[in-house]
């Protein structure tokens, strides 16, 4: 049984696995009890399992634990602070930008990463950025999610 050290949402953790190719998602769910990243496809085709590794979005369902040993992992719940939700999450709340909410790790984390690197990004630019990688929302709340991301891009939450 090997031990993989990493930081998850600001806390240093030791994930254990007998198979170095165990996907990160399952270990986060079973050993750190995170609820932000979700299993959607296990194939990197939908984005429900998205987490940030050293600030960049990755698919935790197809990322082997050995490949993120030592990394700093931030899940959807790790964005929020004791002071409250992160501004991008605030924008999603104010816009009621979801139905079931199962997919939101994808659009929120990919959207935030792009906008943080491109402040003031337009709706068109944000949509293009989200299209660089396969991401789904089956309730089809796309317009509201875009509204929320545009607000965040403008430094607003509502």
């Amino acid at each position: 049984m090997a031990v993989y050290k990493m930081t998850v949402n600001g806390v240093s953790v030791n994930l254990t696995a007998d198979d170095p190719n165990t996907p990160l998602l399952y270990l986060l769910q079973e050993q750190v009890q995170t609820s932000g990243p979700k299993f959607g496809c296990g194939l990197g085709q939908c984005g429900a399992c998205t987490v940030l590794a050293n600030g960049q979005p990755i698919r935790s369902c197809i990322t082997n634990v050995v490949d993120v040993a030592g990394a700093t992992i931030t899940t959807l719940e790790g964005l929020a602070t004791p002071a409250g939700p992160h501004p991008v999450q605030q924008a999603f709340i104010s816009q009621q930008a979801m139905q079931c909410g199962y997919c939101v790790s994808g659009p929120i984390l990919y959207g935030k990463t792009f906008i943080d690197a491109n402040p003031g990004a337009t709706r068109e630019q944000i949509l293009n950025a989200l299209g660089k990688t396969p991401l789904l929302c089956r309730c089809h709340a796309h317009n509201r999610m875009l509204d929320a991301l545009v607000l965040y891009s403008q430094g607003k939450t509502q």
């Binding site: 299993f39 085709q45 139905q99 939101v104 089956r138 317009n143």
Partner: protein, 789 residues
């Protein structure tokens, strides 16, 4: 048994707060004299989880309890899937009881705890909760009792009282006050729902009718919401299923030794053709399922996908005759002009974001002393409990099914089947087991697909251009349906485990004796003549035949958002457009001259106005020197003939060279009676319309008849609308109609997308695409066929 129930009791009390426990401890009676004496002792002894599994929905206490601390707990049998109905139910309680929203707690869909309201589906939740015998009547009966108590306290009449924030005062002296909590003193209502009680007039709503934000969204946005996938039970193991590689294959042999040495593997479970593995972690279960050696028989013979429509027409069918005026053939023969066309709709998937997941804790094997607890995202906890009782051989009274939210399901997807899987595996190992399907499990052999349809339409038009006769004949497929107590084999897991499933019995149709809209197989433009008289349709056409043939499906089928209604509306609304185009009439004008229902007319006019409808005949059929031709199309529906009105205008651009369709704008108008939550209704409507666009443009289940396998096994092989594709500009007009009863809204949007987009494609390029989805291949094929004619 008693230990189990004690455990249950503590858990429910934790969920409900102290209020309900206090209720059950209290042996006191309502002071107003409604309660039958002698019941008190029984009530005091009763556990919140009723040991018989029965919750009497005729009793007010089954729906609402008010604690001494003024908190109000509502018990409901309608679940939340992201459609926002939990919020609406809390608004309803706050409105009818005149209390603030933050005082309302809602517990829903838990057998033995909440009333049995069947399944949460089919845009029926508003009708159920606002209608007779539902939540609103329970709340109003409770409110009447509270006002009666207060009137005695103040020595006046109930109508001389006013309530604000749960505080009752005489209208004449607002300084005198008593609260609901003080009036009840922690006691139960002990009342039967009063069918004569008066709900608040929707015109006076202050909480319903407003866009109250959904209370669970902050937890969902911040990743702390606990979905079914996050349920953890002490000692829980992880299961995985191993499905037949081809449709209908049977287990020949299973080599359990092929995985028993693998890390963490606990057990291989085989029951008939049901095969699963149980391990200590998810990854170990996945590895074992992938390595298990199973010999399977050959599968079923599948029809060729390309000729599915003609194949359906060769099989024995169960027929239903919805309308038969008896004169359609004669009227077609004497019509000035006739039209005919056939529309094809493929099998489609629910395609939920989440792979289906459930957790089961089955103790004691089977028989009268065994117990089971299941956490499930099912649409119906009671039907699932009753069917699992058969699957496990455990009395239903010993089973508790607790609804826990998953991703949106959009109908009967895999949530019941995966619950059977978890229950079977837990029963075999005697420990709690969580099962989460793979994406392939979900796509290929898990969910119950939306049915394929072939719909043939004929119409005759008189010299004045009015439709004189309309004939609809459809062929569709069916296998299984929702799980129930007699045929748990209705869904795949039950079928694999060897439980019975009904098959459609071929039968000839008999003429109708009463009007039914029959899943919108009756077009909007028919008057619905039964026994010689118009009987409930929304249009002018008296001469009509509507006949549906259902044949056995090779794949499991089940309700998929707007089941059959979408397929029928696609055909009927496109066909109406074909007639209008043939006559050189504007599609909106031609609809309006055949509609009689003022509410349907109102949504058509509202959508056309909001979309700045360009009044002229279709097609526009521009041949531009550069750029893509654009077009607009409309469709409308009275959902199910009585359950909400909608109209949708689509604007599209079509690339003639590639056959690609780009939807630019989607503008709709919806009316479902009094609006409960305007923002929620817009969210539902627009999500539905866009999901309908995805189904119309991309979605079809594919299979290979030679290999017997389904070839749509992931998101690449079952493409859907995804992030990065241009998102149409959407606009929704919500018409509030406080003068009628509440009806459903969840399927108003999705029902129209395929028809409106198809009509817009025709407007743009002058070619009718009658086979969904509107893929480049299908569009180009229609263009080629059109040129060839």
């Amino acid at each position: 048994m008693s230990e189990f129930r004690e455990f249950e009791k503590a858990e429910i009390n934790a969920a409900a707060g102290a209020s309900r426990r206090d209720f059950f401890k209290s042996a006191g009676m309502m002071v107003v004299g409604f309660a039958a004496t002698g019941e008190a002792a029984k009530l005091a002894a009763q556990s919140p989880v009723n040991p018989t599994g029965l919750v009497d929905a005729t009793k007010v206490d089954s729906w609402v309890s008010i604690a001494a601390d003024e908190s109000v707990t509502i018990y409901s049998g309608k679940c939340e899937f992201g459609q926002g109905f939990a919020t609406v139910q809390m608004q309803l309680a706050a409105e009818e009881l005149s209390i603030p929203m933050n005082r309302v707690k809602l517990i829903f869909c838990d057998t033995g705890v909440t009333p049995d309201q069947g399944v949460t589906s089919g845009s029926q939740s508003h009708i159920a909760e606002f209608g007779p015998g539902g939540l609103r009547q329970a709340l109003d009966t409770a409110r009447d009792a509270l006002l009666q108590l207060a009137s005695e306290w103040f020595d006046t009449t109930p109508d001389a009282l006013t309530v604000k924030d749960g505080v009752v005062s005489p209208k004449s002296d607002p300084t005198q006050q008593i609260t609901y909590g003080q009036l009840l003193e922690g006691q139960r209502f002990s009342l039967v729902l009063n069918s004569q009680t008066k709900p608040k007039d929707p015109k006076t709503y202050t909480i319903l009718g407003t866009s109250v934000p959904r209370p669970e969204i902050p937890a969902k946005a911040t990743g702390t919401f606990r979905y079914i996938q996050n349920v953890r039970v002490p000692g829980m193991l992880h299961g995985r299923v191993v499905r037949p590689p081809v449709v209908g294959a049977k287990v020949m042999s299973v080599d359990k030794g092929s995985v028993m040495g693998m890390p963490g593997v606990v057990q291989v479970v085989v029951k008939n053709n049901f095969v699963g593995v149980v391990a200590d972690t998810q990854w170990h279960a996945i590895q074992a399922a992938g390595s298990l050696q199973v010999q399977w028989s050959d599968g079923d013979t599948l029809p060729d996908q390309a000729t599915l429509a003609s194949w359906m027409q060769t099989l024995p069918s169960a027929d239903s005759l919805t309308l038969e005026s008896g004169d359609t053939d004669a009227n077609l023969a004497k019509a000035t002009r006739t039209f005919s066309a056939q529309y094809l709709h493929p099998y489609q998937m629910h395609g939920a974001m989440a792979a289906s997941c459930a957790v089961a804790d089955v103790r004691g094997g089977s028989g009268p002393n065994a117990l089971a607890k299941i956490w499930s995202a099912t649409q119906g906890v009671y039907p699932q409990r009753d069917s699992v009782a058969v699957v496990l051989g455990i009395p239903k009274e010993n089973i508790r099914v607790i609804f826990t939210e998953s991703s949106g399901c959009y109908g009967l997807n895999g949530n019941d089947s995966v619950s059977y899987d978890a229950a079977l595996l837990s029963q075999a190992v005697g420990k709690p087991v969580r099962v989460q399907w793979s994406r392939k499990d979900e796509h290929v052999q898990g969910e119950s697909y939306g049915a394929a349809y072939a719909i043939s339409l004929k119409a005759g038009v008189d010299a004045g251009g009015q439709i004189s006769t309309w004939a609809y004949e459809a062929w569709t497929v069916s296998k299984g349906n929702r799980p129930n107590a007699t045929t748990p084999g209705n869904i795949l897991s039950g079928n694999l485990a060897g439980l019975p499933a009904p098959v459609p019995t071929p039968a000839k149709a008999t003429p109708p004796t009463a009007f039914s809209n029959n899943n919108n197989s009756v077009a909007n433009y028919l008057s619905g003549v039964v026994a010689g008289k118009p009987a409930g349709g929304t249009g002018t056409v008296n001469s009509a035949r509507v006949l549906t043939h259902t044949v056995a499906s090779p794949f499991f089928t089940g309700p998929l958002r707007s089941p059959a209604r979408l397929q029928n509306t696609f055909a009927n609304e496109c066909f109406l457009d074909e007639i209008a185009a043939g006559l050189g009439m504007d599609p909106v004008d031609y609809r309006l001259r055949h509609l009689t229902d003022p509410r349907l007319i109102a949504v058509v006019q509202a959508a056309a106005k909001a979309a700045q409808w360009d009044t002229r005949p279709s097609p526009k059929d521009e041949h531009l020197p550069f750029g893509n031709p654009t077009g607009r199309g409309i469709a409308c529906v009275l959902y199910e003939g009585n359950n909400g009105y909608s109209a949708l205008v689509a604007t599209v651009e079509v690339n003639r060279a590639t056959g690609q369709v780009f939807v630019k704008r989607l503008t709709s108008a919806v009316e479902s009676g009094p609006v409960s939550n305007p923002d929620g209704m817009v969210n539902q409507t627009e999500g539905g319309i866009l999901q309908g666009m995805s189904r119309a443009l991309f979605e079809q289940v594919k299979w290979n008849a030679k290999t017997g396998s389904i070839t749509s096994f992931d998101w690449n092989t079952y493409p859907v609308f995804q992030w990065g594709m241009p998102v149409p500009v959407m606009k929704t007009v919500v018409i509030n109609n406080p003068n009628v009863s509440q009806t459903g809204a969840g399927e108003l949007g999705i029902t129209l997308s395929a028809a409106a987009i198809g009509n817009a494609i025709f407007d743009a390029i002058g070619v009718r695409v009658r086979q969904l989805p509107y893929t480049p291949a299908n569009v180009l094929a229609a263009m080629a066929a059109s040129t060839g004619r």
